[in-house]
Symmetry: C2
Amino acid sequence: MGGDHGVDAVIPGAYLASRERPDLRFCFFGNEELILPALAKFPALRDISSIHHAPLKISSTDKPSQAVRKSKDTSMRLAIEAVESGNAHGVVSGGNTGALMALSKMILKCLPGVDRPAIATVFPAIHSKTVVLDLGANLECDVPMLIQFAVLGSVYSRLVMGHTRPTVGLLNVGSEDQKGHEELRQASAILAQLDFSGAYKGFVEGDDMTNGTVDVVVTDGFTGNVALKTAEGVGKLSKFYLKETFKTSFMAKLGALFAIGALRKMQKVLDPRLYNGGMFLGLNGICVKSHGGMDEIGFANAIGVAYDLAKSRFNDKVTEQLAHLDMPKLVSASKDQDNKNNVA
Amino acid sequence: MGGDHGVDAVIPGAYLASRERPDLRFCFFGNEELILPALAKFPALRDISSIHHAPLKISSTDKPSQAVRKSKDTSMRLAIEAVESGNAHGVVSGGNTGALMALSKMILKCLPGVDRPAIATVFPAIHSKTVVLDLGANLECDVPMLIQFAVLGSVYSRLVMGHTRPTVGLLNVGSEDQKGHEELRQASAILAQLDFSGAYKGFVEGDDMTNGTVDVVVTDGFTGNVALKTAEGVGKLSKFYLKETFKTSFMAKLGALFAIGALRKMQKVLDPRLYNGGMFLGLNGICVKSHGGMDEIGFANAIGVAYDLAKSRFNDKVTEQLAHLDMPKLVSASKDQDNKNNVA
């Protein structure tokens, strides 16, 4: 029911996603009267789908706390409960992000060893792609959370993006050890010693997300959200200037005509729909948020993200990785070291 | 002496800047043996310049605290002292940013009513430009600092960019009142009531810096630095993809040939050299940092930024604006309000 286009993005998106992944099956939660006619257009999809009528829906303007209180019988809640009960491997929603996070935390709970889930996505980079988290679930992050996010991001990079030993960086304002907040310095010291699924490379800066310096960039949700929105803004600005440029003269228009094929190809590579799918990592169940403004192609991509997480048994691997980390011990050892350094 | 190109950027940069501003005069601080031959190439510049030999220089790798300790007789320190003694209206340096900030804070001190200086720059935006501060001088900012930065940014926007009543936003992860850290919410509540040089528009997000939503964006130095570097990274990525695009096919290469004039014009509008000049606002003296990698065109722009600040009597206007703000009263009134809201 969620997003700007509701069933008109979700149902065709599911169809697109299923064509590339023949083992996909769908449970649609929402208003039957809207789902049935939309689904009728895709007989092949109808055959692999079940419909679960939900009389209510959460509005995009509800605050998370309000949404949770009045969530009974809403499509979002029923869909998340399907994951909790094992009837679905994952949930994808284009609805209210805050409500989806609050409800999925409440219903699915966190994986053992994870204090709080993080929102992650993939940034396009020069010659590569970078997983970035947290993008806004937790405005402030303590040391254990940053370490857990490094594990979540590196397991994702390994399982889904195929990096055998993904490189990990902590987002900071400089690469020197003494830079940044105390939490960052402590998390950095711990990660440098830690045996985990990634190879820790130290602090990275804002441009490293698109330079491809590391495979995974870890940050708190406040900084990550500002970085994500800033990147979107500059992307939009570049596109605006490029369009304006090709309008400036007759020669430029002619040039655009010749280059139109290549320009379309570039637009395709940078198409925000291909980067759609905010993963809620760290929950005991797969949950992916599709951007509210996305059409069927964007929604299909978000379904693909959920599919990859489920198929790769991401949550099992994270649980394994975190089981052998003694977080309280790591943090207290690092604090002792920090105190010694300060005394010295 | 600073920056990657030393006198080879500074001297030709000064020449370029002077051609557009006939009332500019220069004092060059550094190694006379390097300055004299560089200056000999520009007789017109030599006539409006004085040379002040400095036997030492601060290295780009010195930590700020080290740099301060061994700053005696360095070109950077002597140049800042020239501003302090009134022998220069402002200082422009391509050297070590941390050292420049530490030394200028120590020597110039803050303007009355300013707790800490901020680094500000101008972002290109769709149909406009946006002043953003702090970009890294203060990793954490309290409520009075954020308010002072709003005043600094809006006075700059008014005097130098010509906005009669510049619009101001606080960078956050959403535009709703209840979003973000407590400091942000409190600063927002105060700015909404405050009579100052700008018109406060509430919270803005990362993409608003390039959307041109407001004329001034205020943030803490950690977030601002990450946003600046992220924007630089995405700009670089866009340029990379555009170049690759025009290499993909014969038709695309042909198109690029036709459009080359327009593409060059676009590159000019987005030329990072035109946005060069990190202003250290809030100091009792003009201080501008030129990016270390800049050539003469970039350095000339940084000189222009310092010129504009001096010429517009920026510091006098800021002092006037801040003189009538009773900061402790504002903050305690806002805290009372916050407590009342929490009780309610």
